[in-house]
């Protein structure tokens, strides 16, 4: 007599296959997220990217004509600075030397940010001790 097949295995196999199919479909359509780049990597990039860096200077009003700020790489000593034009919500944590990420695209040498896309990292906890 033929051994009776276990339906649980079939369910698991089909479920796993369905999950993989949905996942592949999603990632192929959505392109698997937004590229995240440092200021030194921005040159030549087209389309919308997320720029991640440290603020070196800023002026203007994000709720008015726009905030202009410059960012550098979080790590390393690259001299590259990128100017960002941003409008929208601005965290109270935003200031010089804070890490930020902002979505947008490079237009004529200025990184034009998507409204309300600026995220300032909390200066909270668990940071490494400064070497004495």
């Amino acid at each position: 007599m033929a051994r009776k097949r276990n339906p649980a295995r079939l369910v698991i196999a089909l479920s796993v296959a369905a999950v993989l199919a949905v996942f592949l479909l999603y990632t192929s359509i959505a392109g698997g997220g937004t590229p995240s780049v440092a200021p030194s990597e921005l040159a030549g990039k087209t389309g919308v990217v997320t720029l991640v860096g440290k603020v070196t200077a800023y002026k203007g009003d994000s709720y008015g004509d726009g905030l202009r700020f410059r960012v550098r790489d979080r790590k390393g000593s690259s001299p590259t600075r990128v100017t960002v034009l941003y409008k929208g919500s601005l965290s109270d944590q935003f200031r010089v030397d804070r890490e930020v990420s902002v979505k947008g695209e490079l237009r004529n040498g200025t990184f034009v940010a998507v409204k309300d896309s600026l995220v300032t990292k909390c200066p909270s906890k668990y940071t490494a001790k400064k070497s004495s």
Partner: protein, 664 residues
């Protein structure tokens, strides 16, 4: 004082090491006195960690800035409550709290189980000891909270965002959850090592898992409420890696709590259950690694400390060691029975598990994807909220539906006729509510409409279960309806407590769908007397108030609130400028409507020198259902956790000496 703290931690390290070595040797050679000695070492480790914790708390309360940790996380102006909460406000203190909870759990697990599950606990002790050893090692060698310096005049203060009552409870709750998952993991590994792969380890750890799962759930809700009130962007969950770090083990533990019922009832899913416990524990470690390693870009800057590689190494050891042990014991983990039908209670539990694990792994993929993309292709990608929201709908909506289907389906096999009879009422109710909502305009968000329709179905099926059960109990023993209802819940705490938790999850879904799919937002710059309309509300900027608090200058824009021509009072939103920390934080204004469950949520984005303010206002329908769901979740968990003498006696008969007093 610091010497006492350091010595206590070194003692913890030594005791944990002894528990590992002596415990393993005792279990291997079956030496009872050595095993008891190893167990006592683990209990002693709790006592010494308690001493170390007391030293740190004393230093915090005394503002002893000669402790580097105290100087970096408190200031003289900081209120006492927040000064004590600085215990977990920094890395070293939070690791110490972790170790304290871990050794506390370990001591309780040993004391409650050393007589009843002696053969199992013999191997559980070295596993618990090994985890405690890792954390004690970190605290002694890598990140000591007892580093000293010449005391400065004042400390740096606590991050203003953490100066919120919710932050006093959120981290300890999360740790109770994260660390609590160590106990089922240790029992699962202990069972495999002892070759006792029957259901005893599951019986012994069910309540431990429930405690950890409940704490993790409450911790996340507290964190969400903190984010909603304190961070001030109008949301409560942002799919940030650090937030996902707590969600993933909770989802894995949820799957485990459901699948253990299949193993208890039918002897199935034995390998699956062990793997789920390993997954939940590994994810709790992975979460800690994420928050401390700096490998991922997170809005929460917990990052860039030096202990990340240690965690990564420990996670690798845990995952590889556990999988090797499971593989070695596969012959002992064969199921006693098989799934008889794809339409049965156990099948719906299986579907539920697959969806929960798929959702967990999808979130894990979203968290790990940037790392893998950078490692393989050289550039970093950020996975946004769109990815997570998509999969939350793909897996979450069927999960919601299954919560309603499961209780109505019979064990082993269900006939179409019985299904039709069971589903008719809740399905009819759900369709009716869906049609009404569609007519009222809820079709603007299809996922929201589906979520509400499914929620109605689940609430209908839960209500039906309670009504049927109460009616049956009343028919059996007479009495009033309330008495029959109480007796029903008291005699089946696990089942009906579970239904209450399901009702809480439905309310959570309703709150999330309402506040995210149907919210309204409006913004603008206001000078005194100007009005901003948002939804049905009109906000008129009346005044700008300023006052000096103990540790901050508080500025509030006061706005008159009006709806449908009726004055509803005022709402105040503004900023706090913290003196010692030299930081500013947003203080949002929230006006809750307890009848409709909606919030008017006001952010004073910018307060200008000329007295004008830039205001962003949201109307968030049903958002208060989320917080109410938290209370109902706690109620359901308490019902399920409450000791049940009848169940203990039943387990005693079923499992002989591995019975009864096996939970916390």
């Amino acid at each position: 004082m610091p010497e006492l703290g350091r010595a206590a931690l070194v003692a913890t390290l030594g005791l944990a090491l002894y528990a590992v070595v002596a415990g393993a040797l005792a279990a291997w050679t079956r030496r009872r006195r050595l095993a008891a000695s190893a167990q006592n070492a683990l209990i002693g480790a709790f006592a010494t960690t308690l001493v170390a914790s007391a030293v740190l708390v004393a230093a915090l309360v005394r503002n002893d800035f000669s402790f580097v940790y105290v100087a970096e996380h408190t200031s003289r102006e900081l209120p006492t409550g927040y000064t004590i909460s600085a215990f977990w406000g920094g890395q070293e203190g939070s690791l110490l709290l972790w170790l304290l909870i871990l050794t506390g759990y370990a001591a309780a697990a040993v004391l409650l189980n050393r007589r009843r599950t002696r053969d199992l606990i013999a191997w559980v002790v070295p596993v618990l000891g090994a985890v405690a050893l890792f954390f004690a090692f970190l605290l002694v060698v890598v990140a000591t909270p007892f580093a000293m310096q010449t005391a400065p005049a004042d400390g740096a203060g606590l991050n203003p965002s953490l100066q919120n009552p919710y932050m006093m409870a959120h981290p300890p709750m999360l740790y109770l959850g994260y660390v609590g998952l160590t106990v089922p993991f240790a029992f699962a590994m202990g069972a495999l090592l002892a070759r006792r792969t029957d259901e005893r380890w599951i019986v012994a750890t069910r309540r431990w898992t429930l405690v950890a799962w409940t704490a993790l759930g409450i911790g996340q809700l507290l964190g969400a409420h903190w984010a909603y009130e304190e961070v001030g962007w109008g949301g409560y969950y942002a799919w940030d890696p650090v937030e996902n770090a707590a969600l993933m083990p909770w989802l894995a533990a949820t799957a485990f709590l459901h699948s253990v019922m299949i193993q208890e009832k039918r002897g199935m899913l034995r390998v699956w259950n062990v793997l789920l416990v390993v997954l939940a524990f590994s994810l709790s470690l992975f979460g800690t690694f994420l928050t401390r390693s700096g490998v991922l870009s997170s809005i929460h800057s917990f990052t860039e400390s030096s202990i990340g590689p240690w965690f990564l190494g420990f996670i690798c050891i845990v995952v590889l060691g556990s999988l090797a042990l499971v593989f070695a014991r596969l012959p002992l983990l064969r199921a006693r029975t098989r799934l008889e039908s794809l339409v049965s209670r156990e099948a719906t539990f299986l579907y539920n598990n697959l969806l929960l694990v798929a959702l967990t792994l999808t979130i894990l993929w979203g968290v790990a994807y940037p790392l893998l993309h950078e490692a393989v292709l050289g550039d970093t990608r950020i996975v946004g909220a769109g990815y997570y929201n998509f999969f939350l709908r793909v897996f979450g909506l069927p999960l919601l539906l299954l919560m309603g289907i499961g209780p109505l389906v019979a064990w082993r096999r269900a006939s179409l006729r019985s299904l039709g009879a069971s589903f008719a009422l809740p399905a009819g109710l759900a369709l009716l509510i869906g049609a009404v909502l569609l007519a009222l305009g809820a079709g603007s968000s299809i996922p929201g409409l589906i979520a509400y329709t499914f929620s109605a179905f689940v609430l209908g099926s839960i209500a039906l279960e309670f009504v049927r059960g109460t009616r049956a109990r009343r028919a059996l023993s007479g009495g009033s309806w309330p008495a029959a209802f109480s007796a029903l819940v008291a005699r089946n705490r696990r089942r009906y407590g579970g239904y209450v938790v399901h009702a809480a999850i439905v309310m959570l879904a309703i709150g999330i769908a309402g506040s995210s799919a149907y919210d309204t937002v409006s913004e603008g710059k206001l000078v005194r007397g100007q009005t901003l309309a948002v939804g049905d509300y009109r906000l008129t900027y009346r005044a700008l108030d300023e006052r000096e608090a103990a540790n901050a200058t508080e500025i509030r824009a006061v706005l008159d609130v009006e709806r449908g021509g009726k004055a509803l009072g005022t709402v105040a939103a503004g900023k706090n400028a913290y003196t010692a920390e030299r930081q500013v934080s947003n203080e949002v204004g929230i006006r809750s409507d307890l009848v409709t469950g909606e919030d008017l949520f006001v952010i004073a984005e910018q307060v200008n020198a000329d007295g004008s303010v830039y205001v962003r206002a949201f109307v968030k329908p049903l958002v208060n259902m989320i917080w109410l769901a938290g209370l109902i979740f706690v109620l359901g968990a308490l019902i399920t956790l409450w000791p049940d003498a009848r169940e203990q006696r039943r387990l005693a008969v079923r499992y002989g000496d591995a019975r009864a007093r096996v939970g916390p």
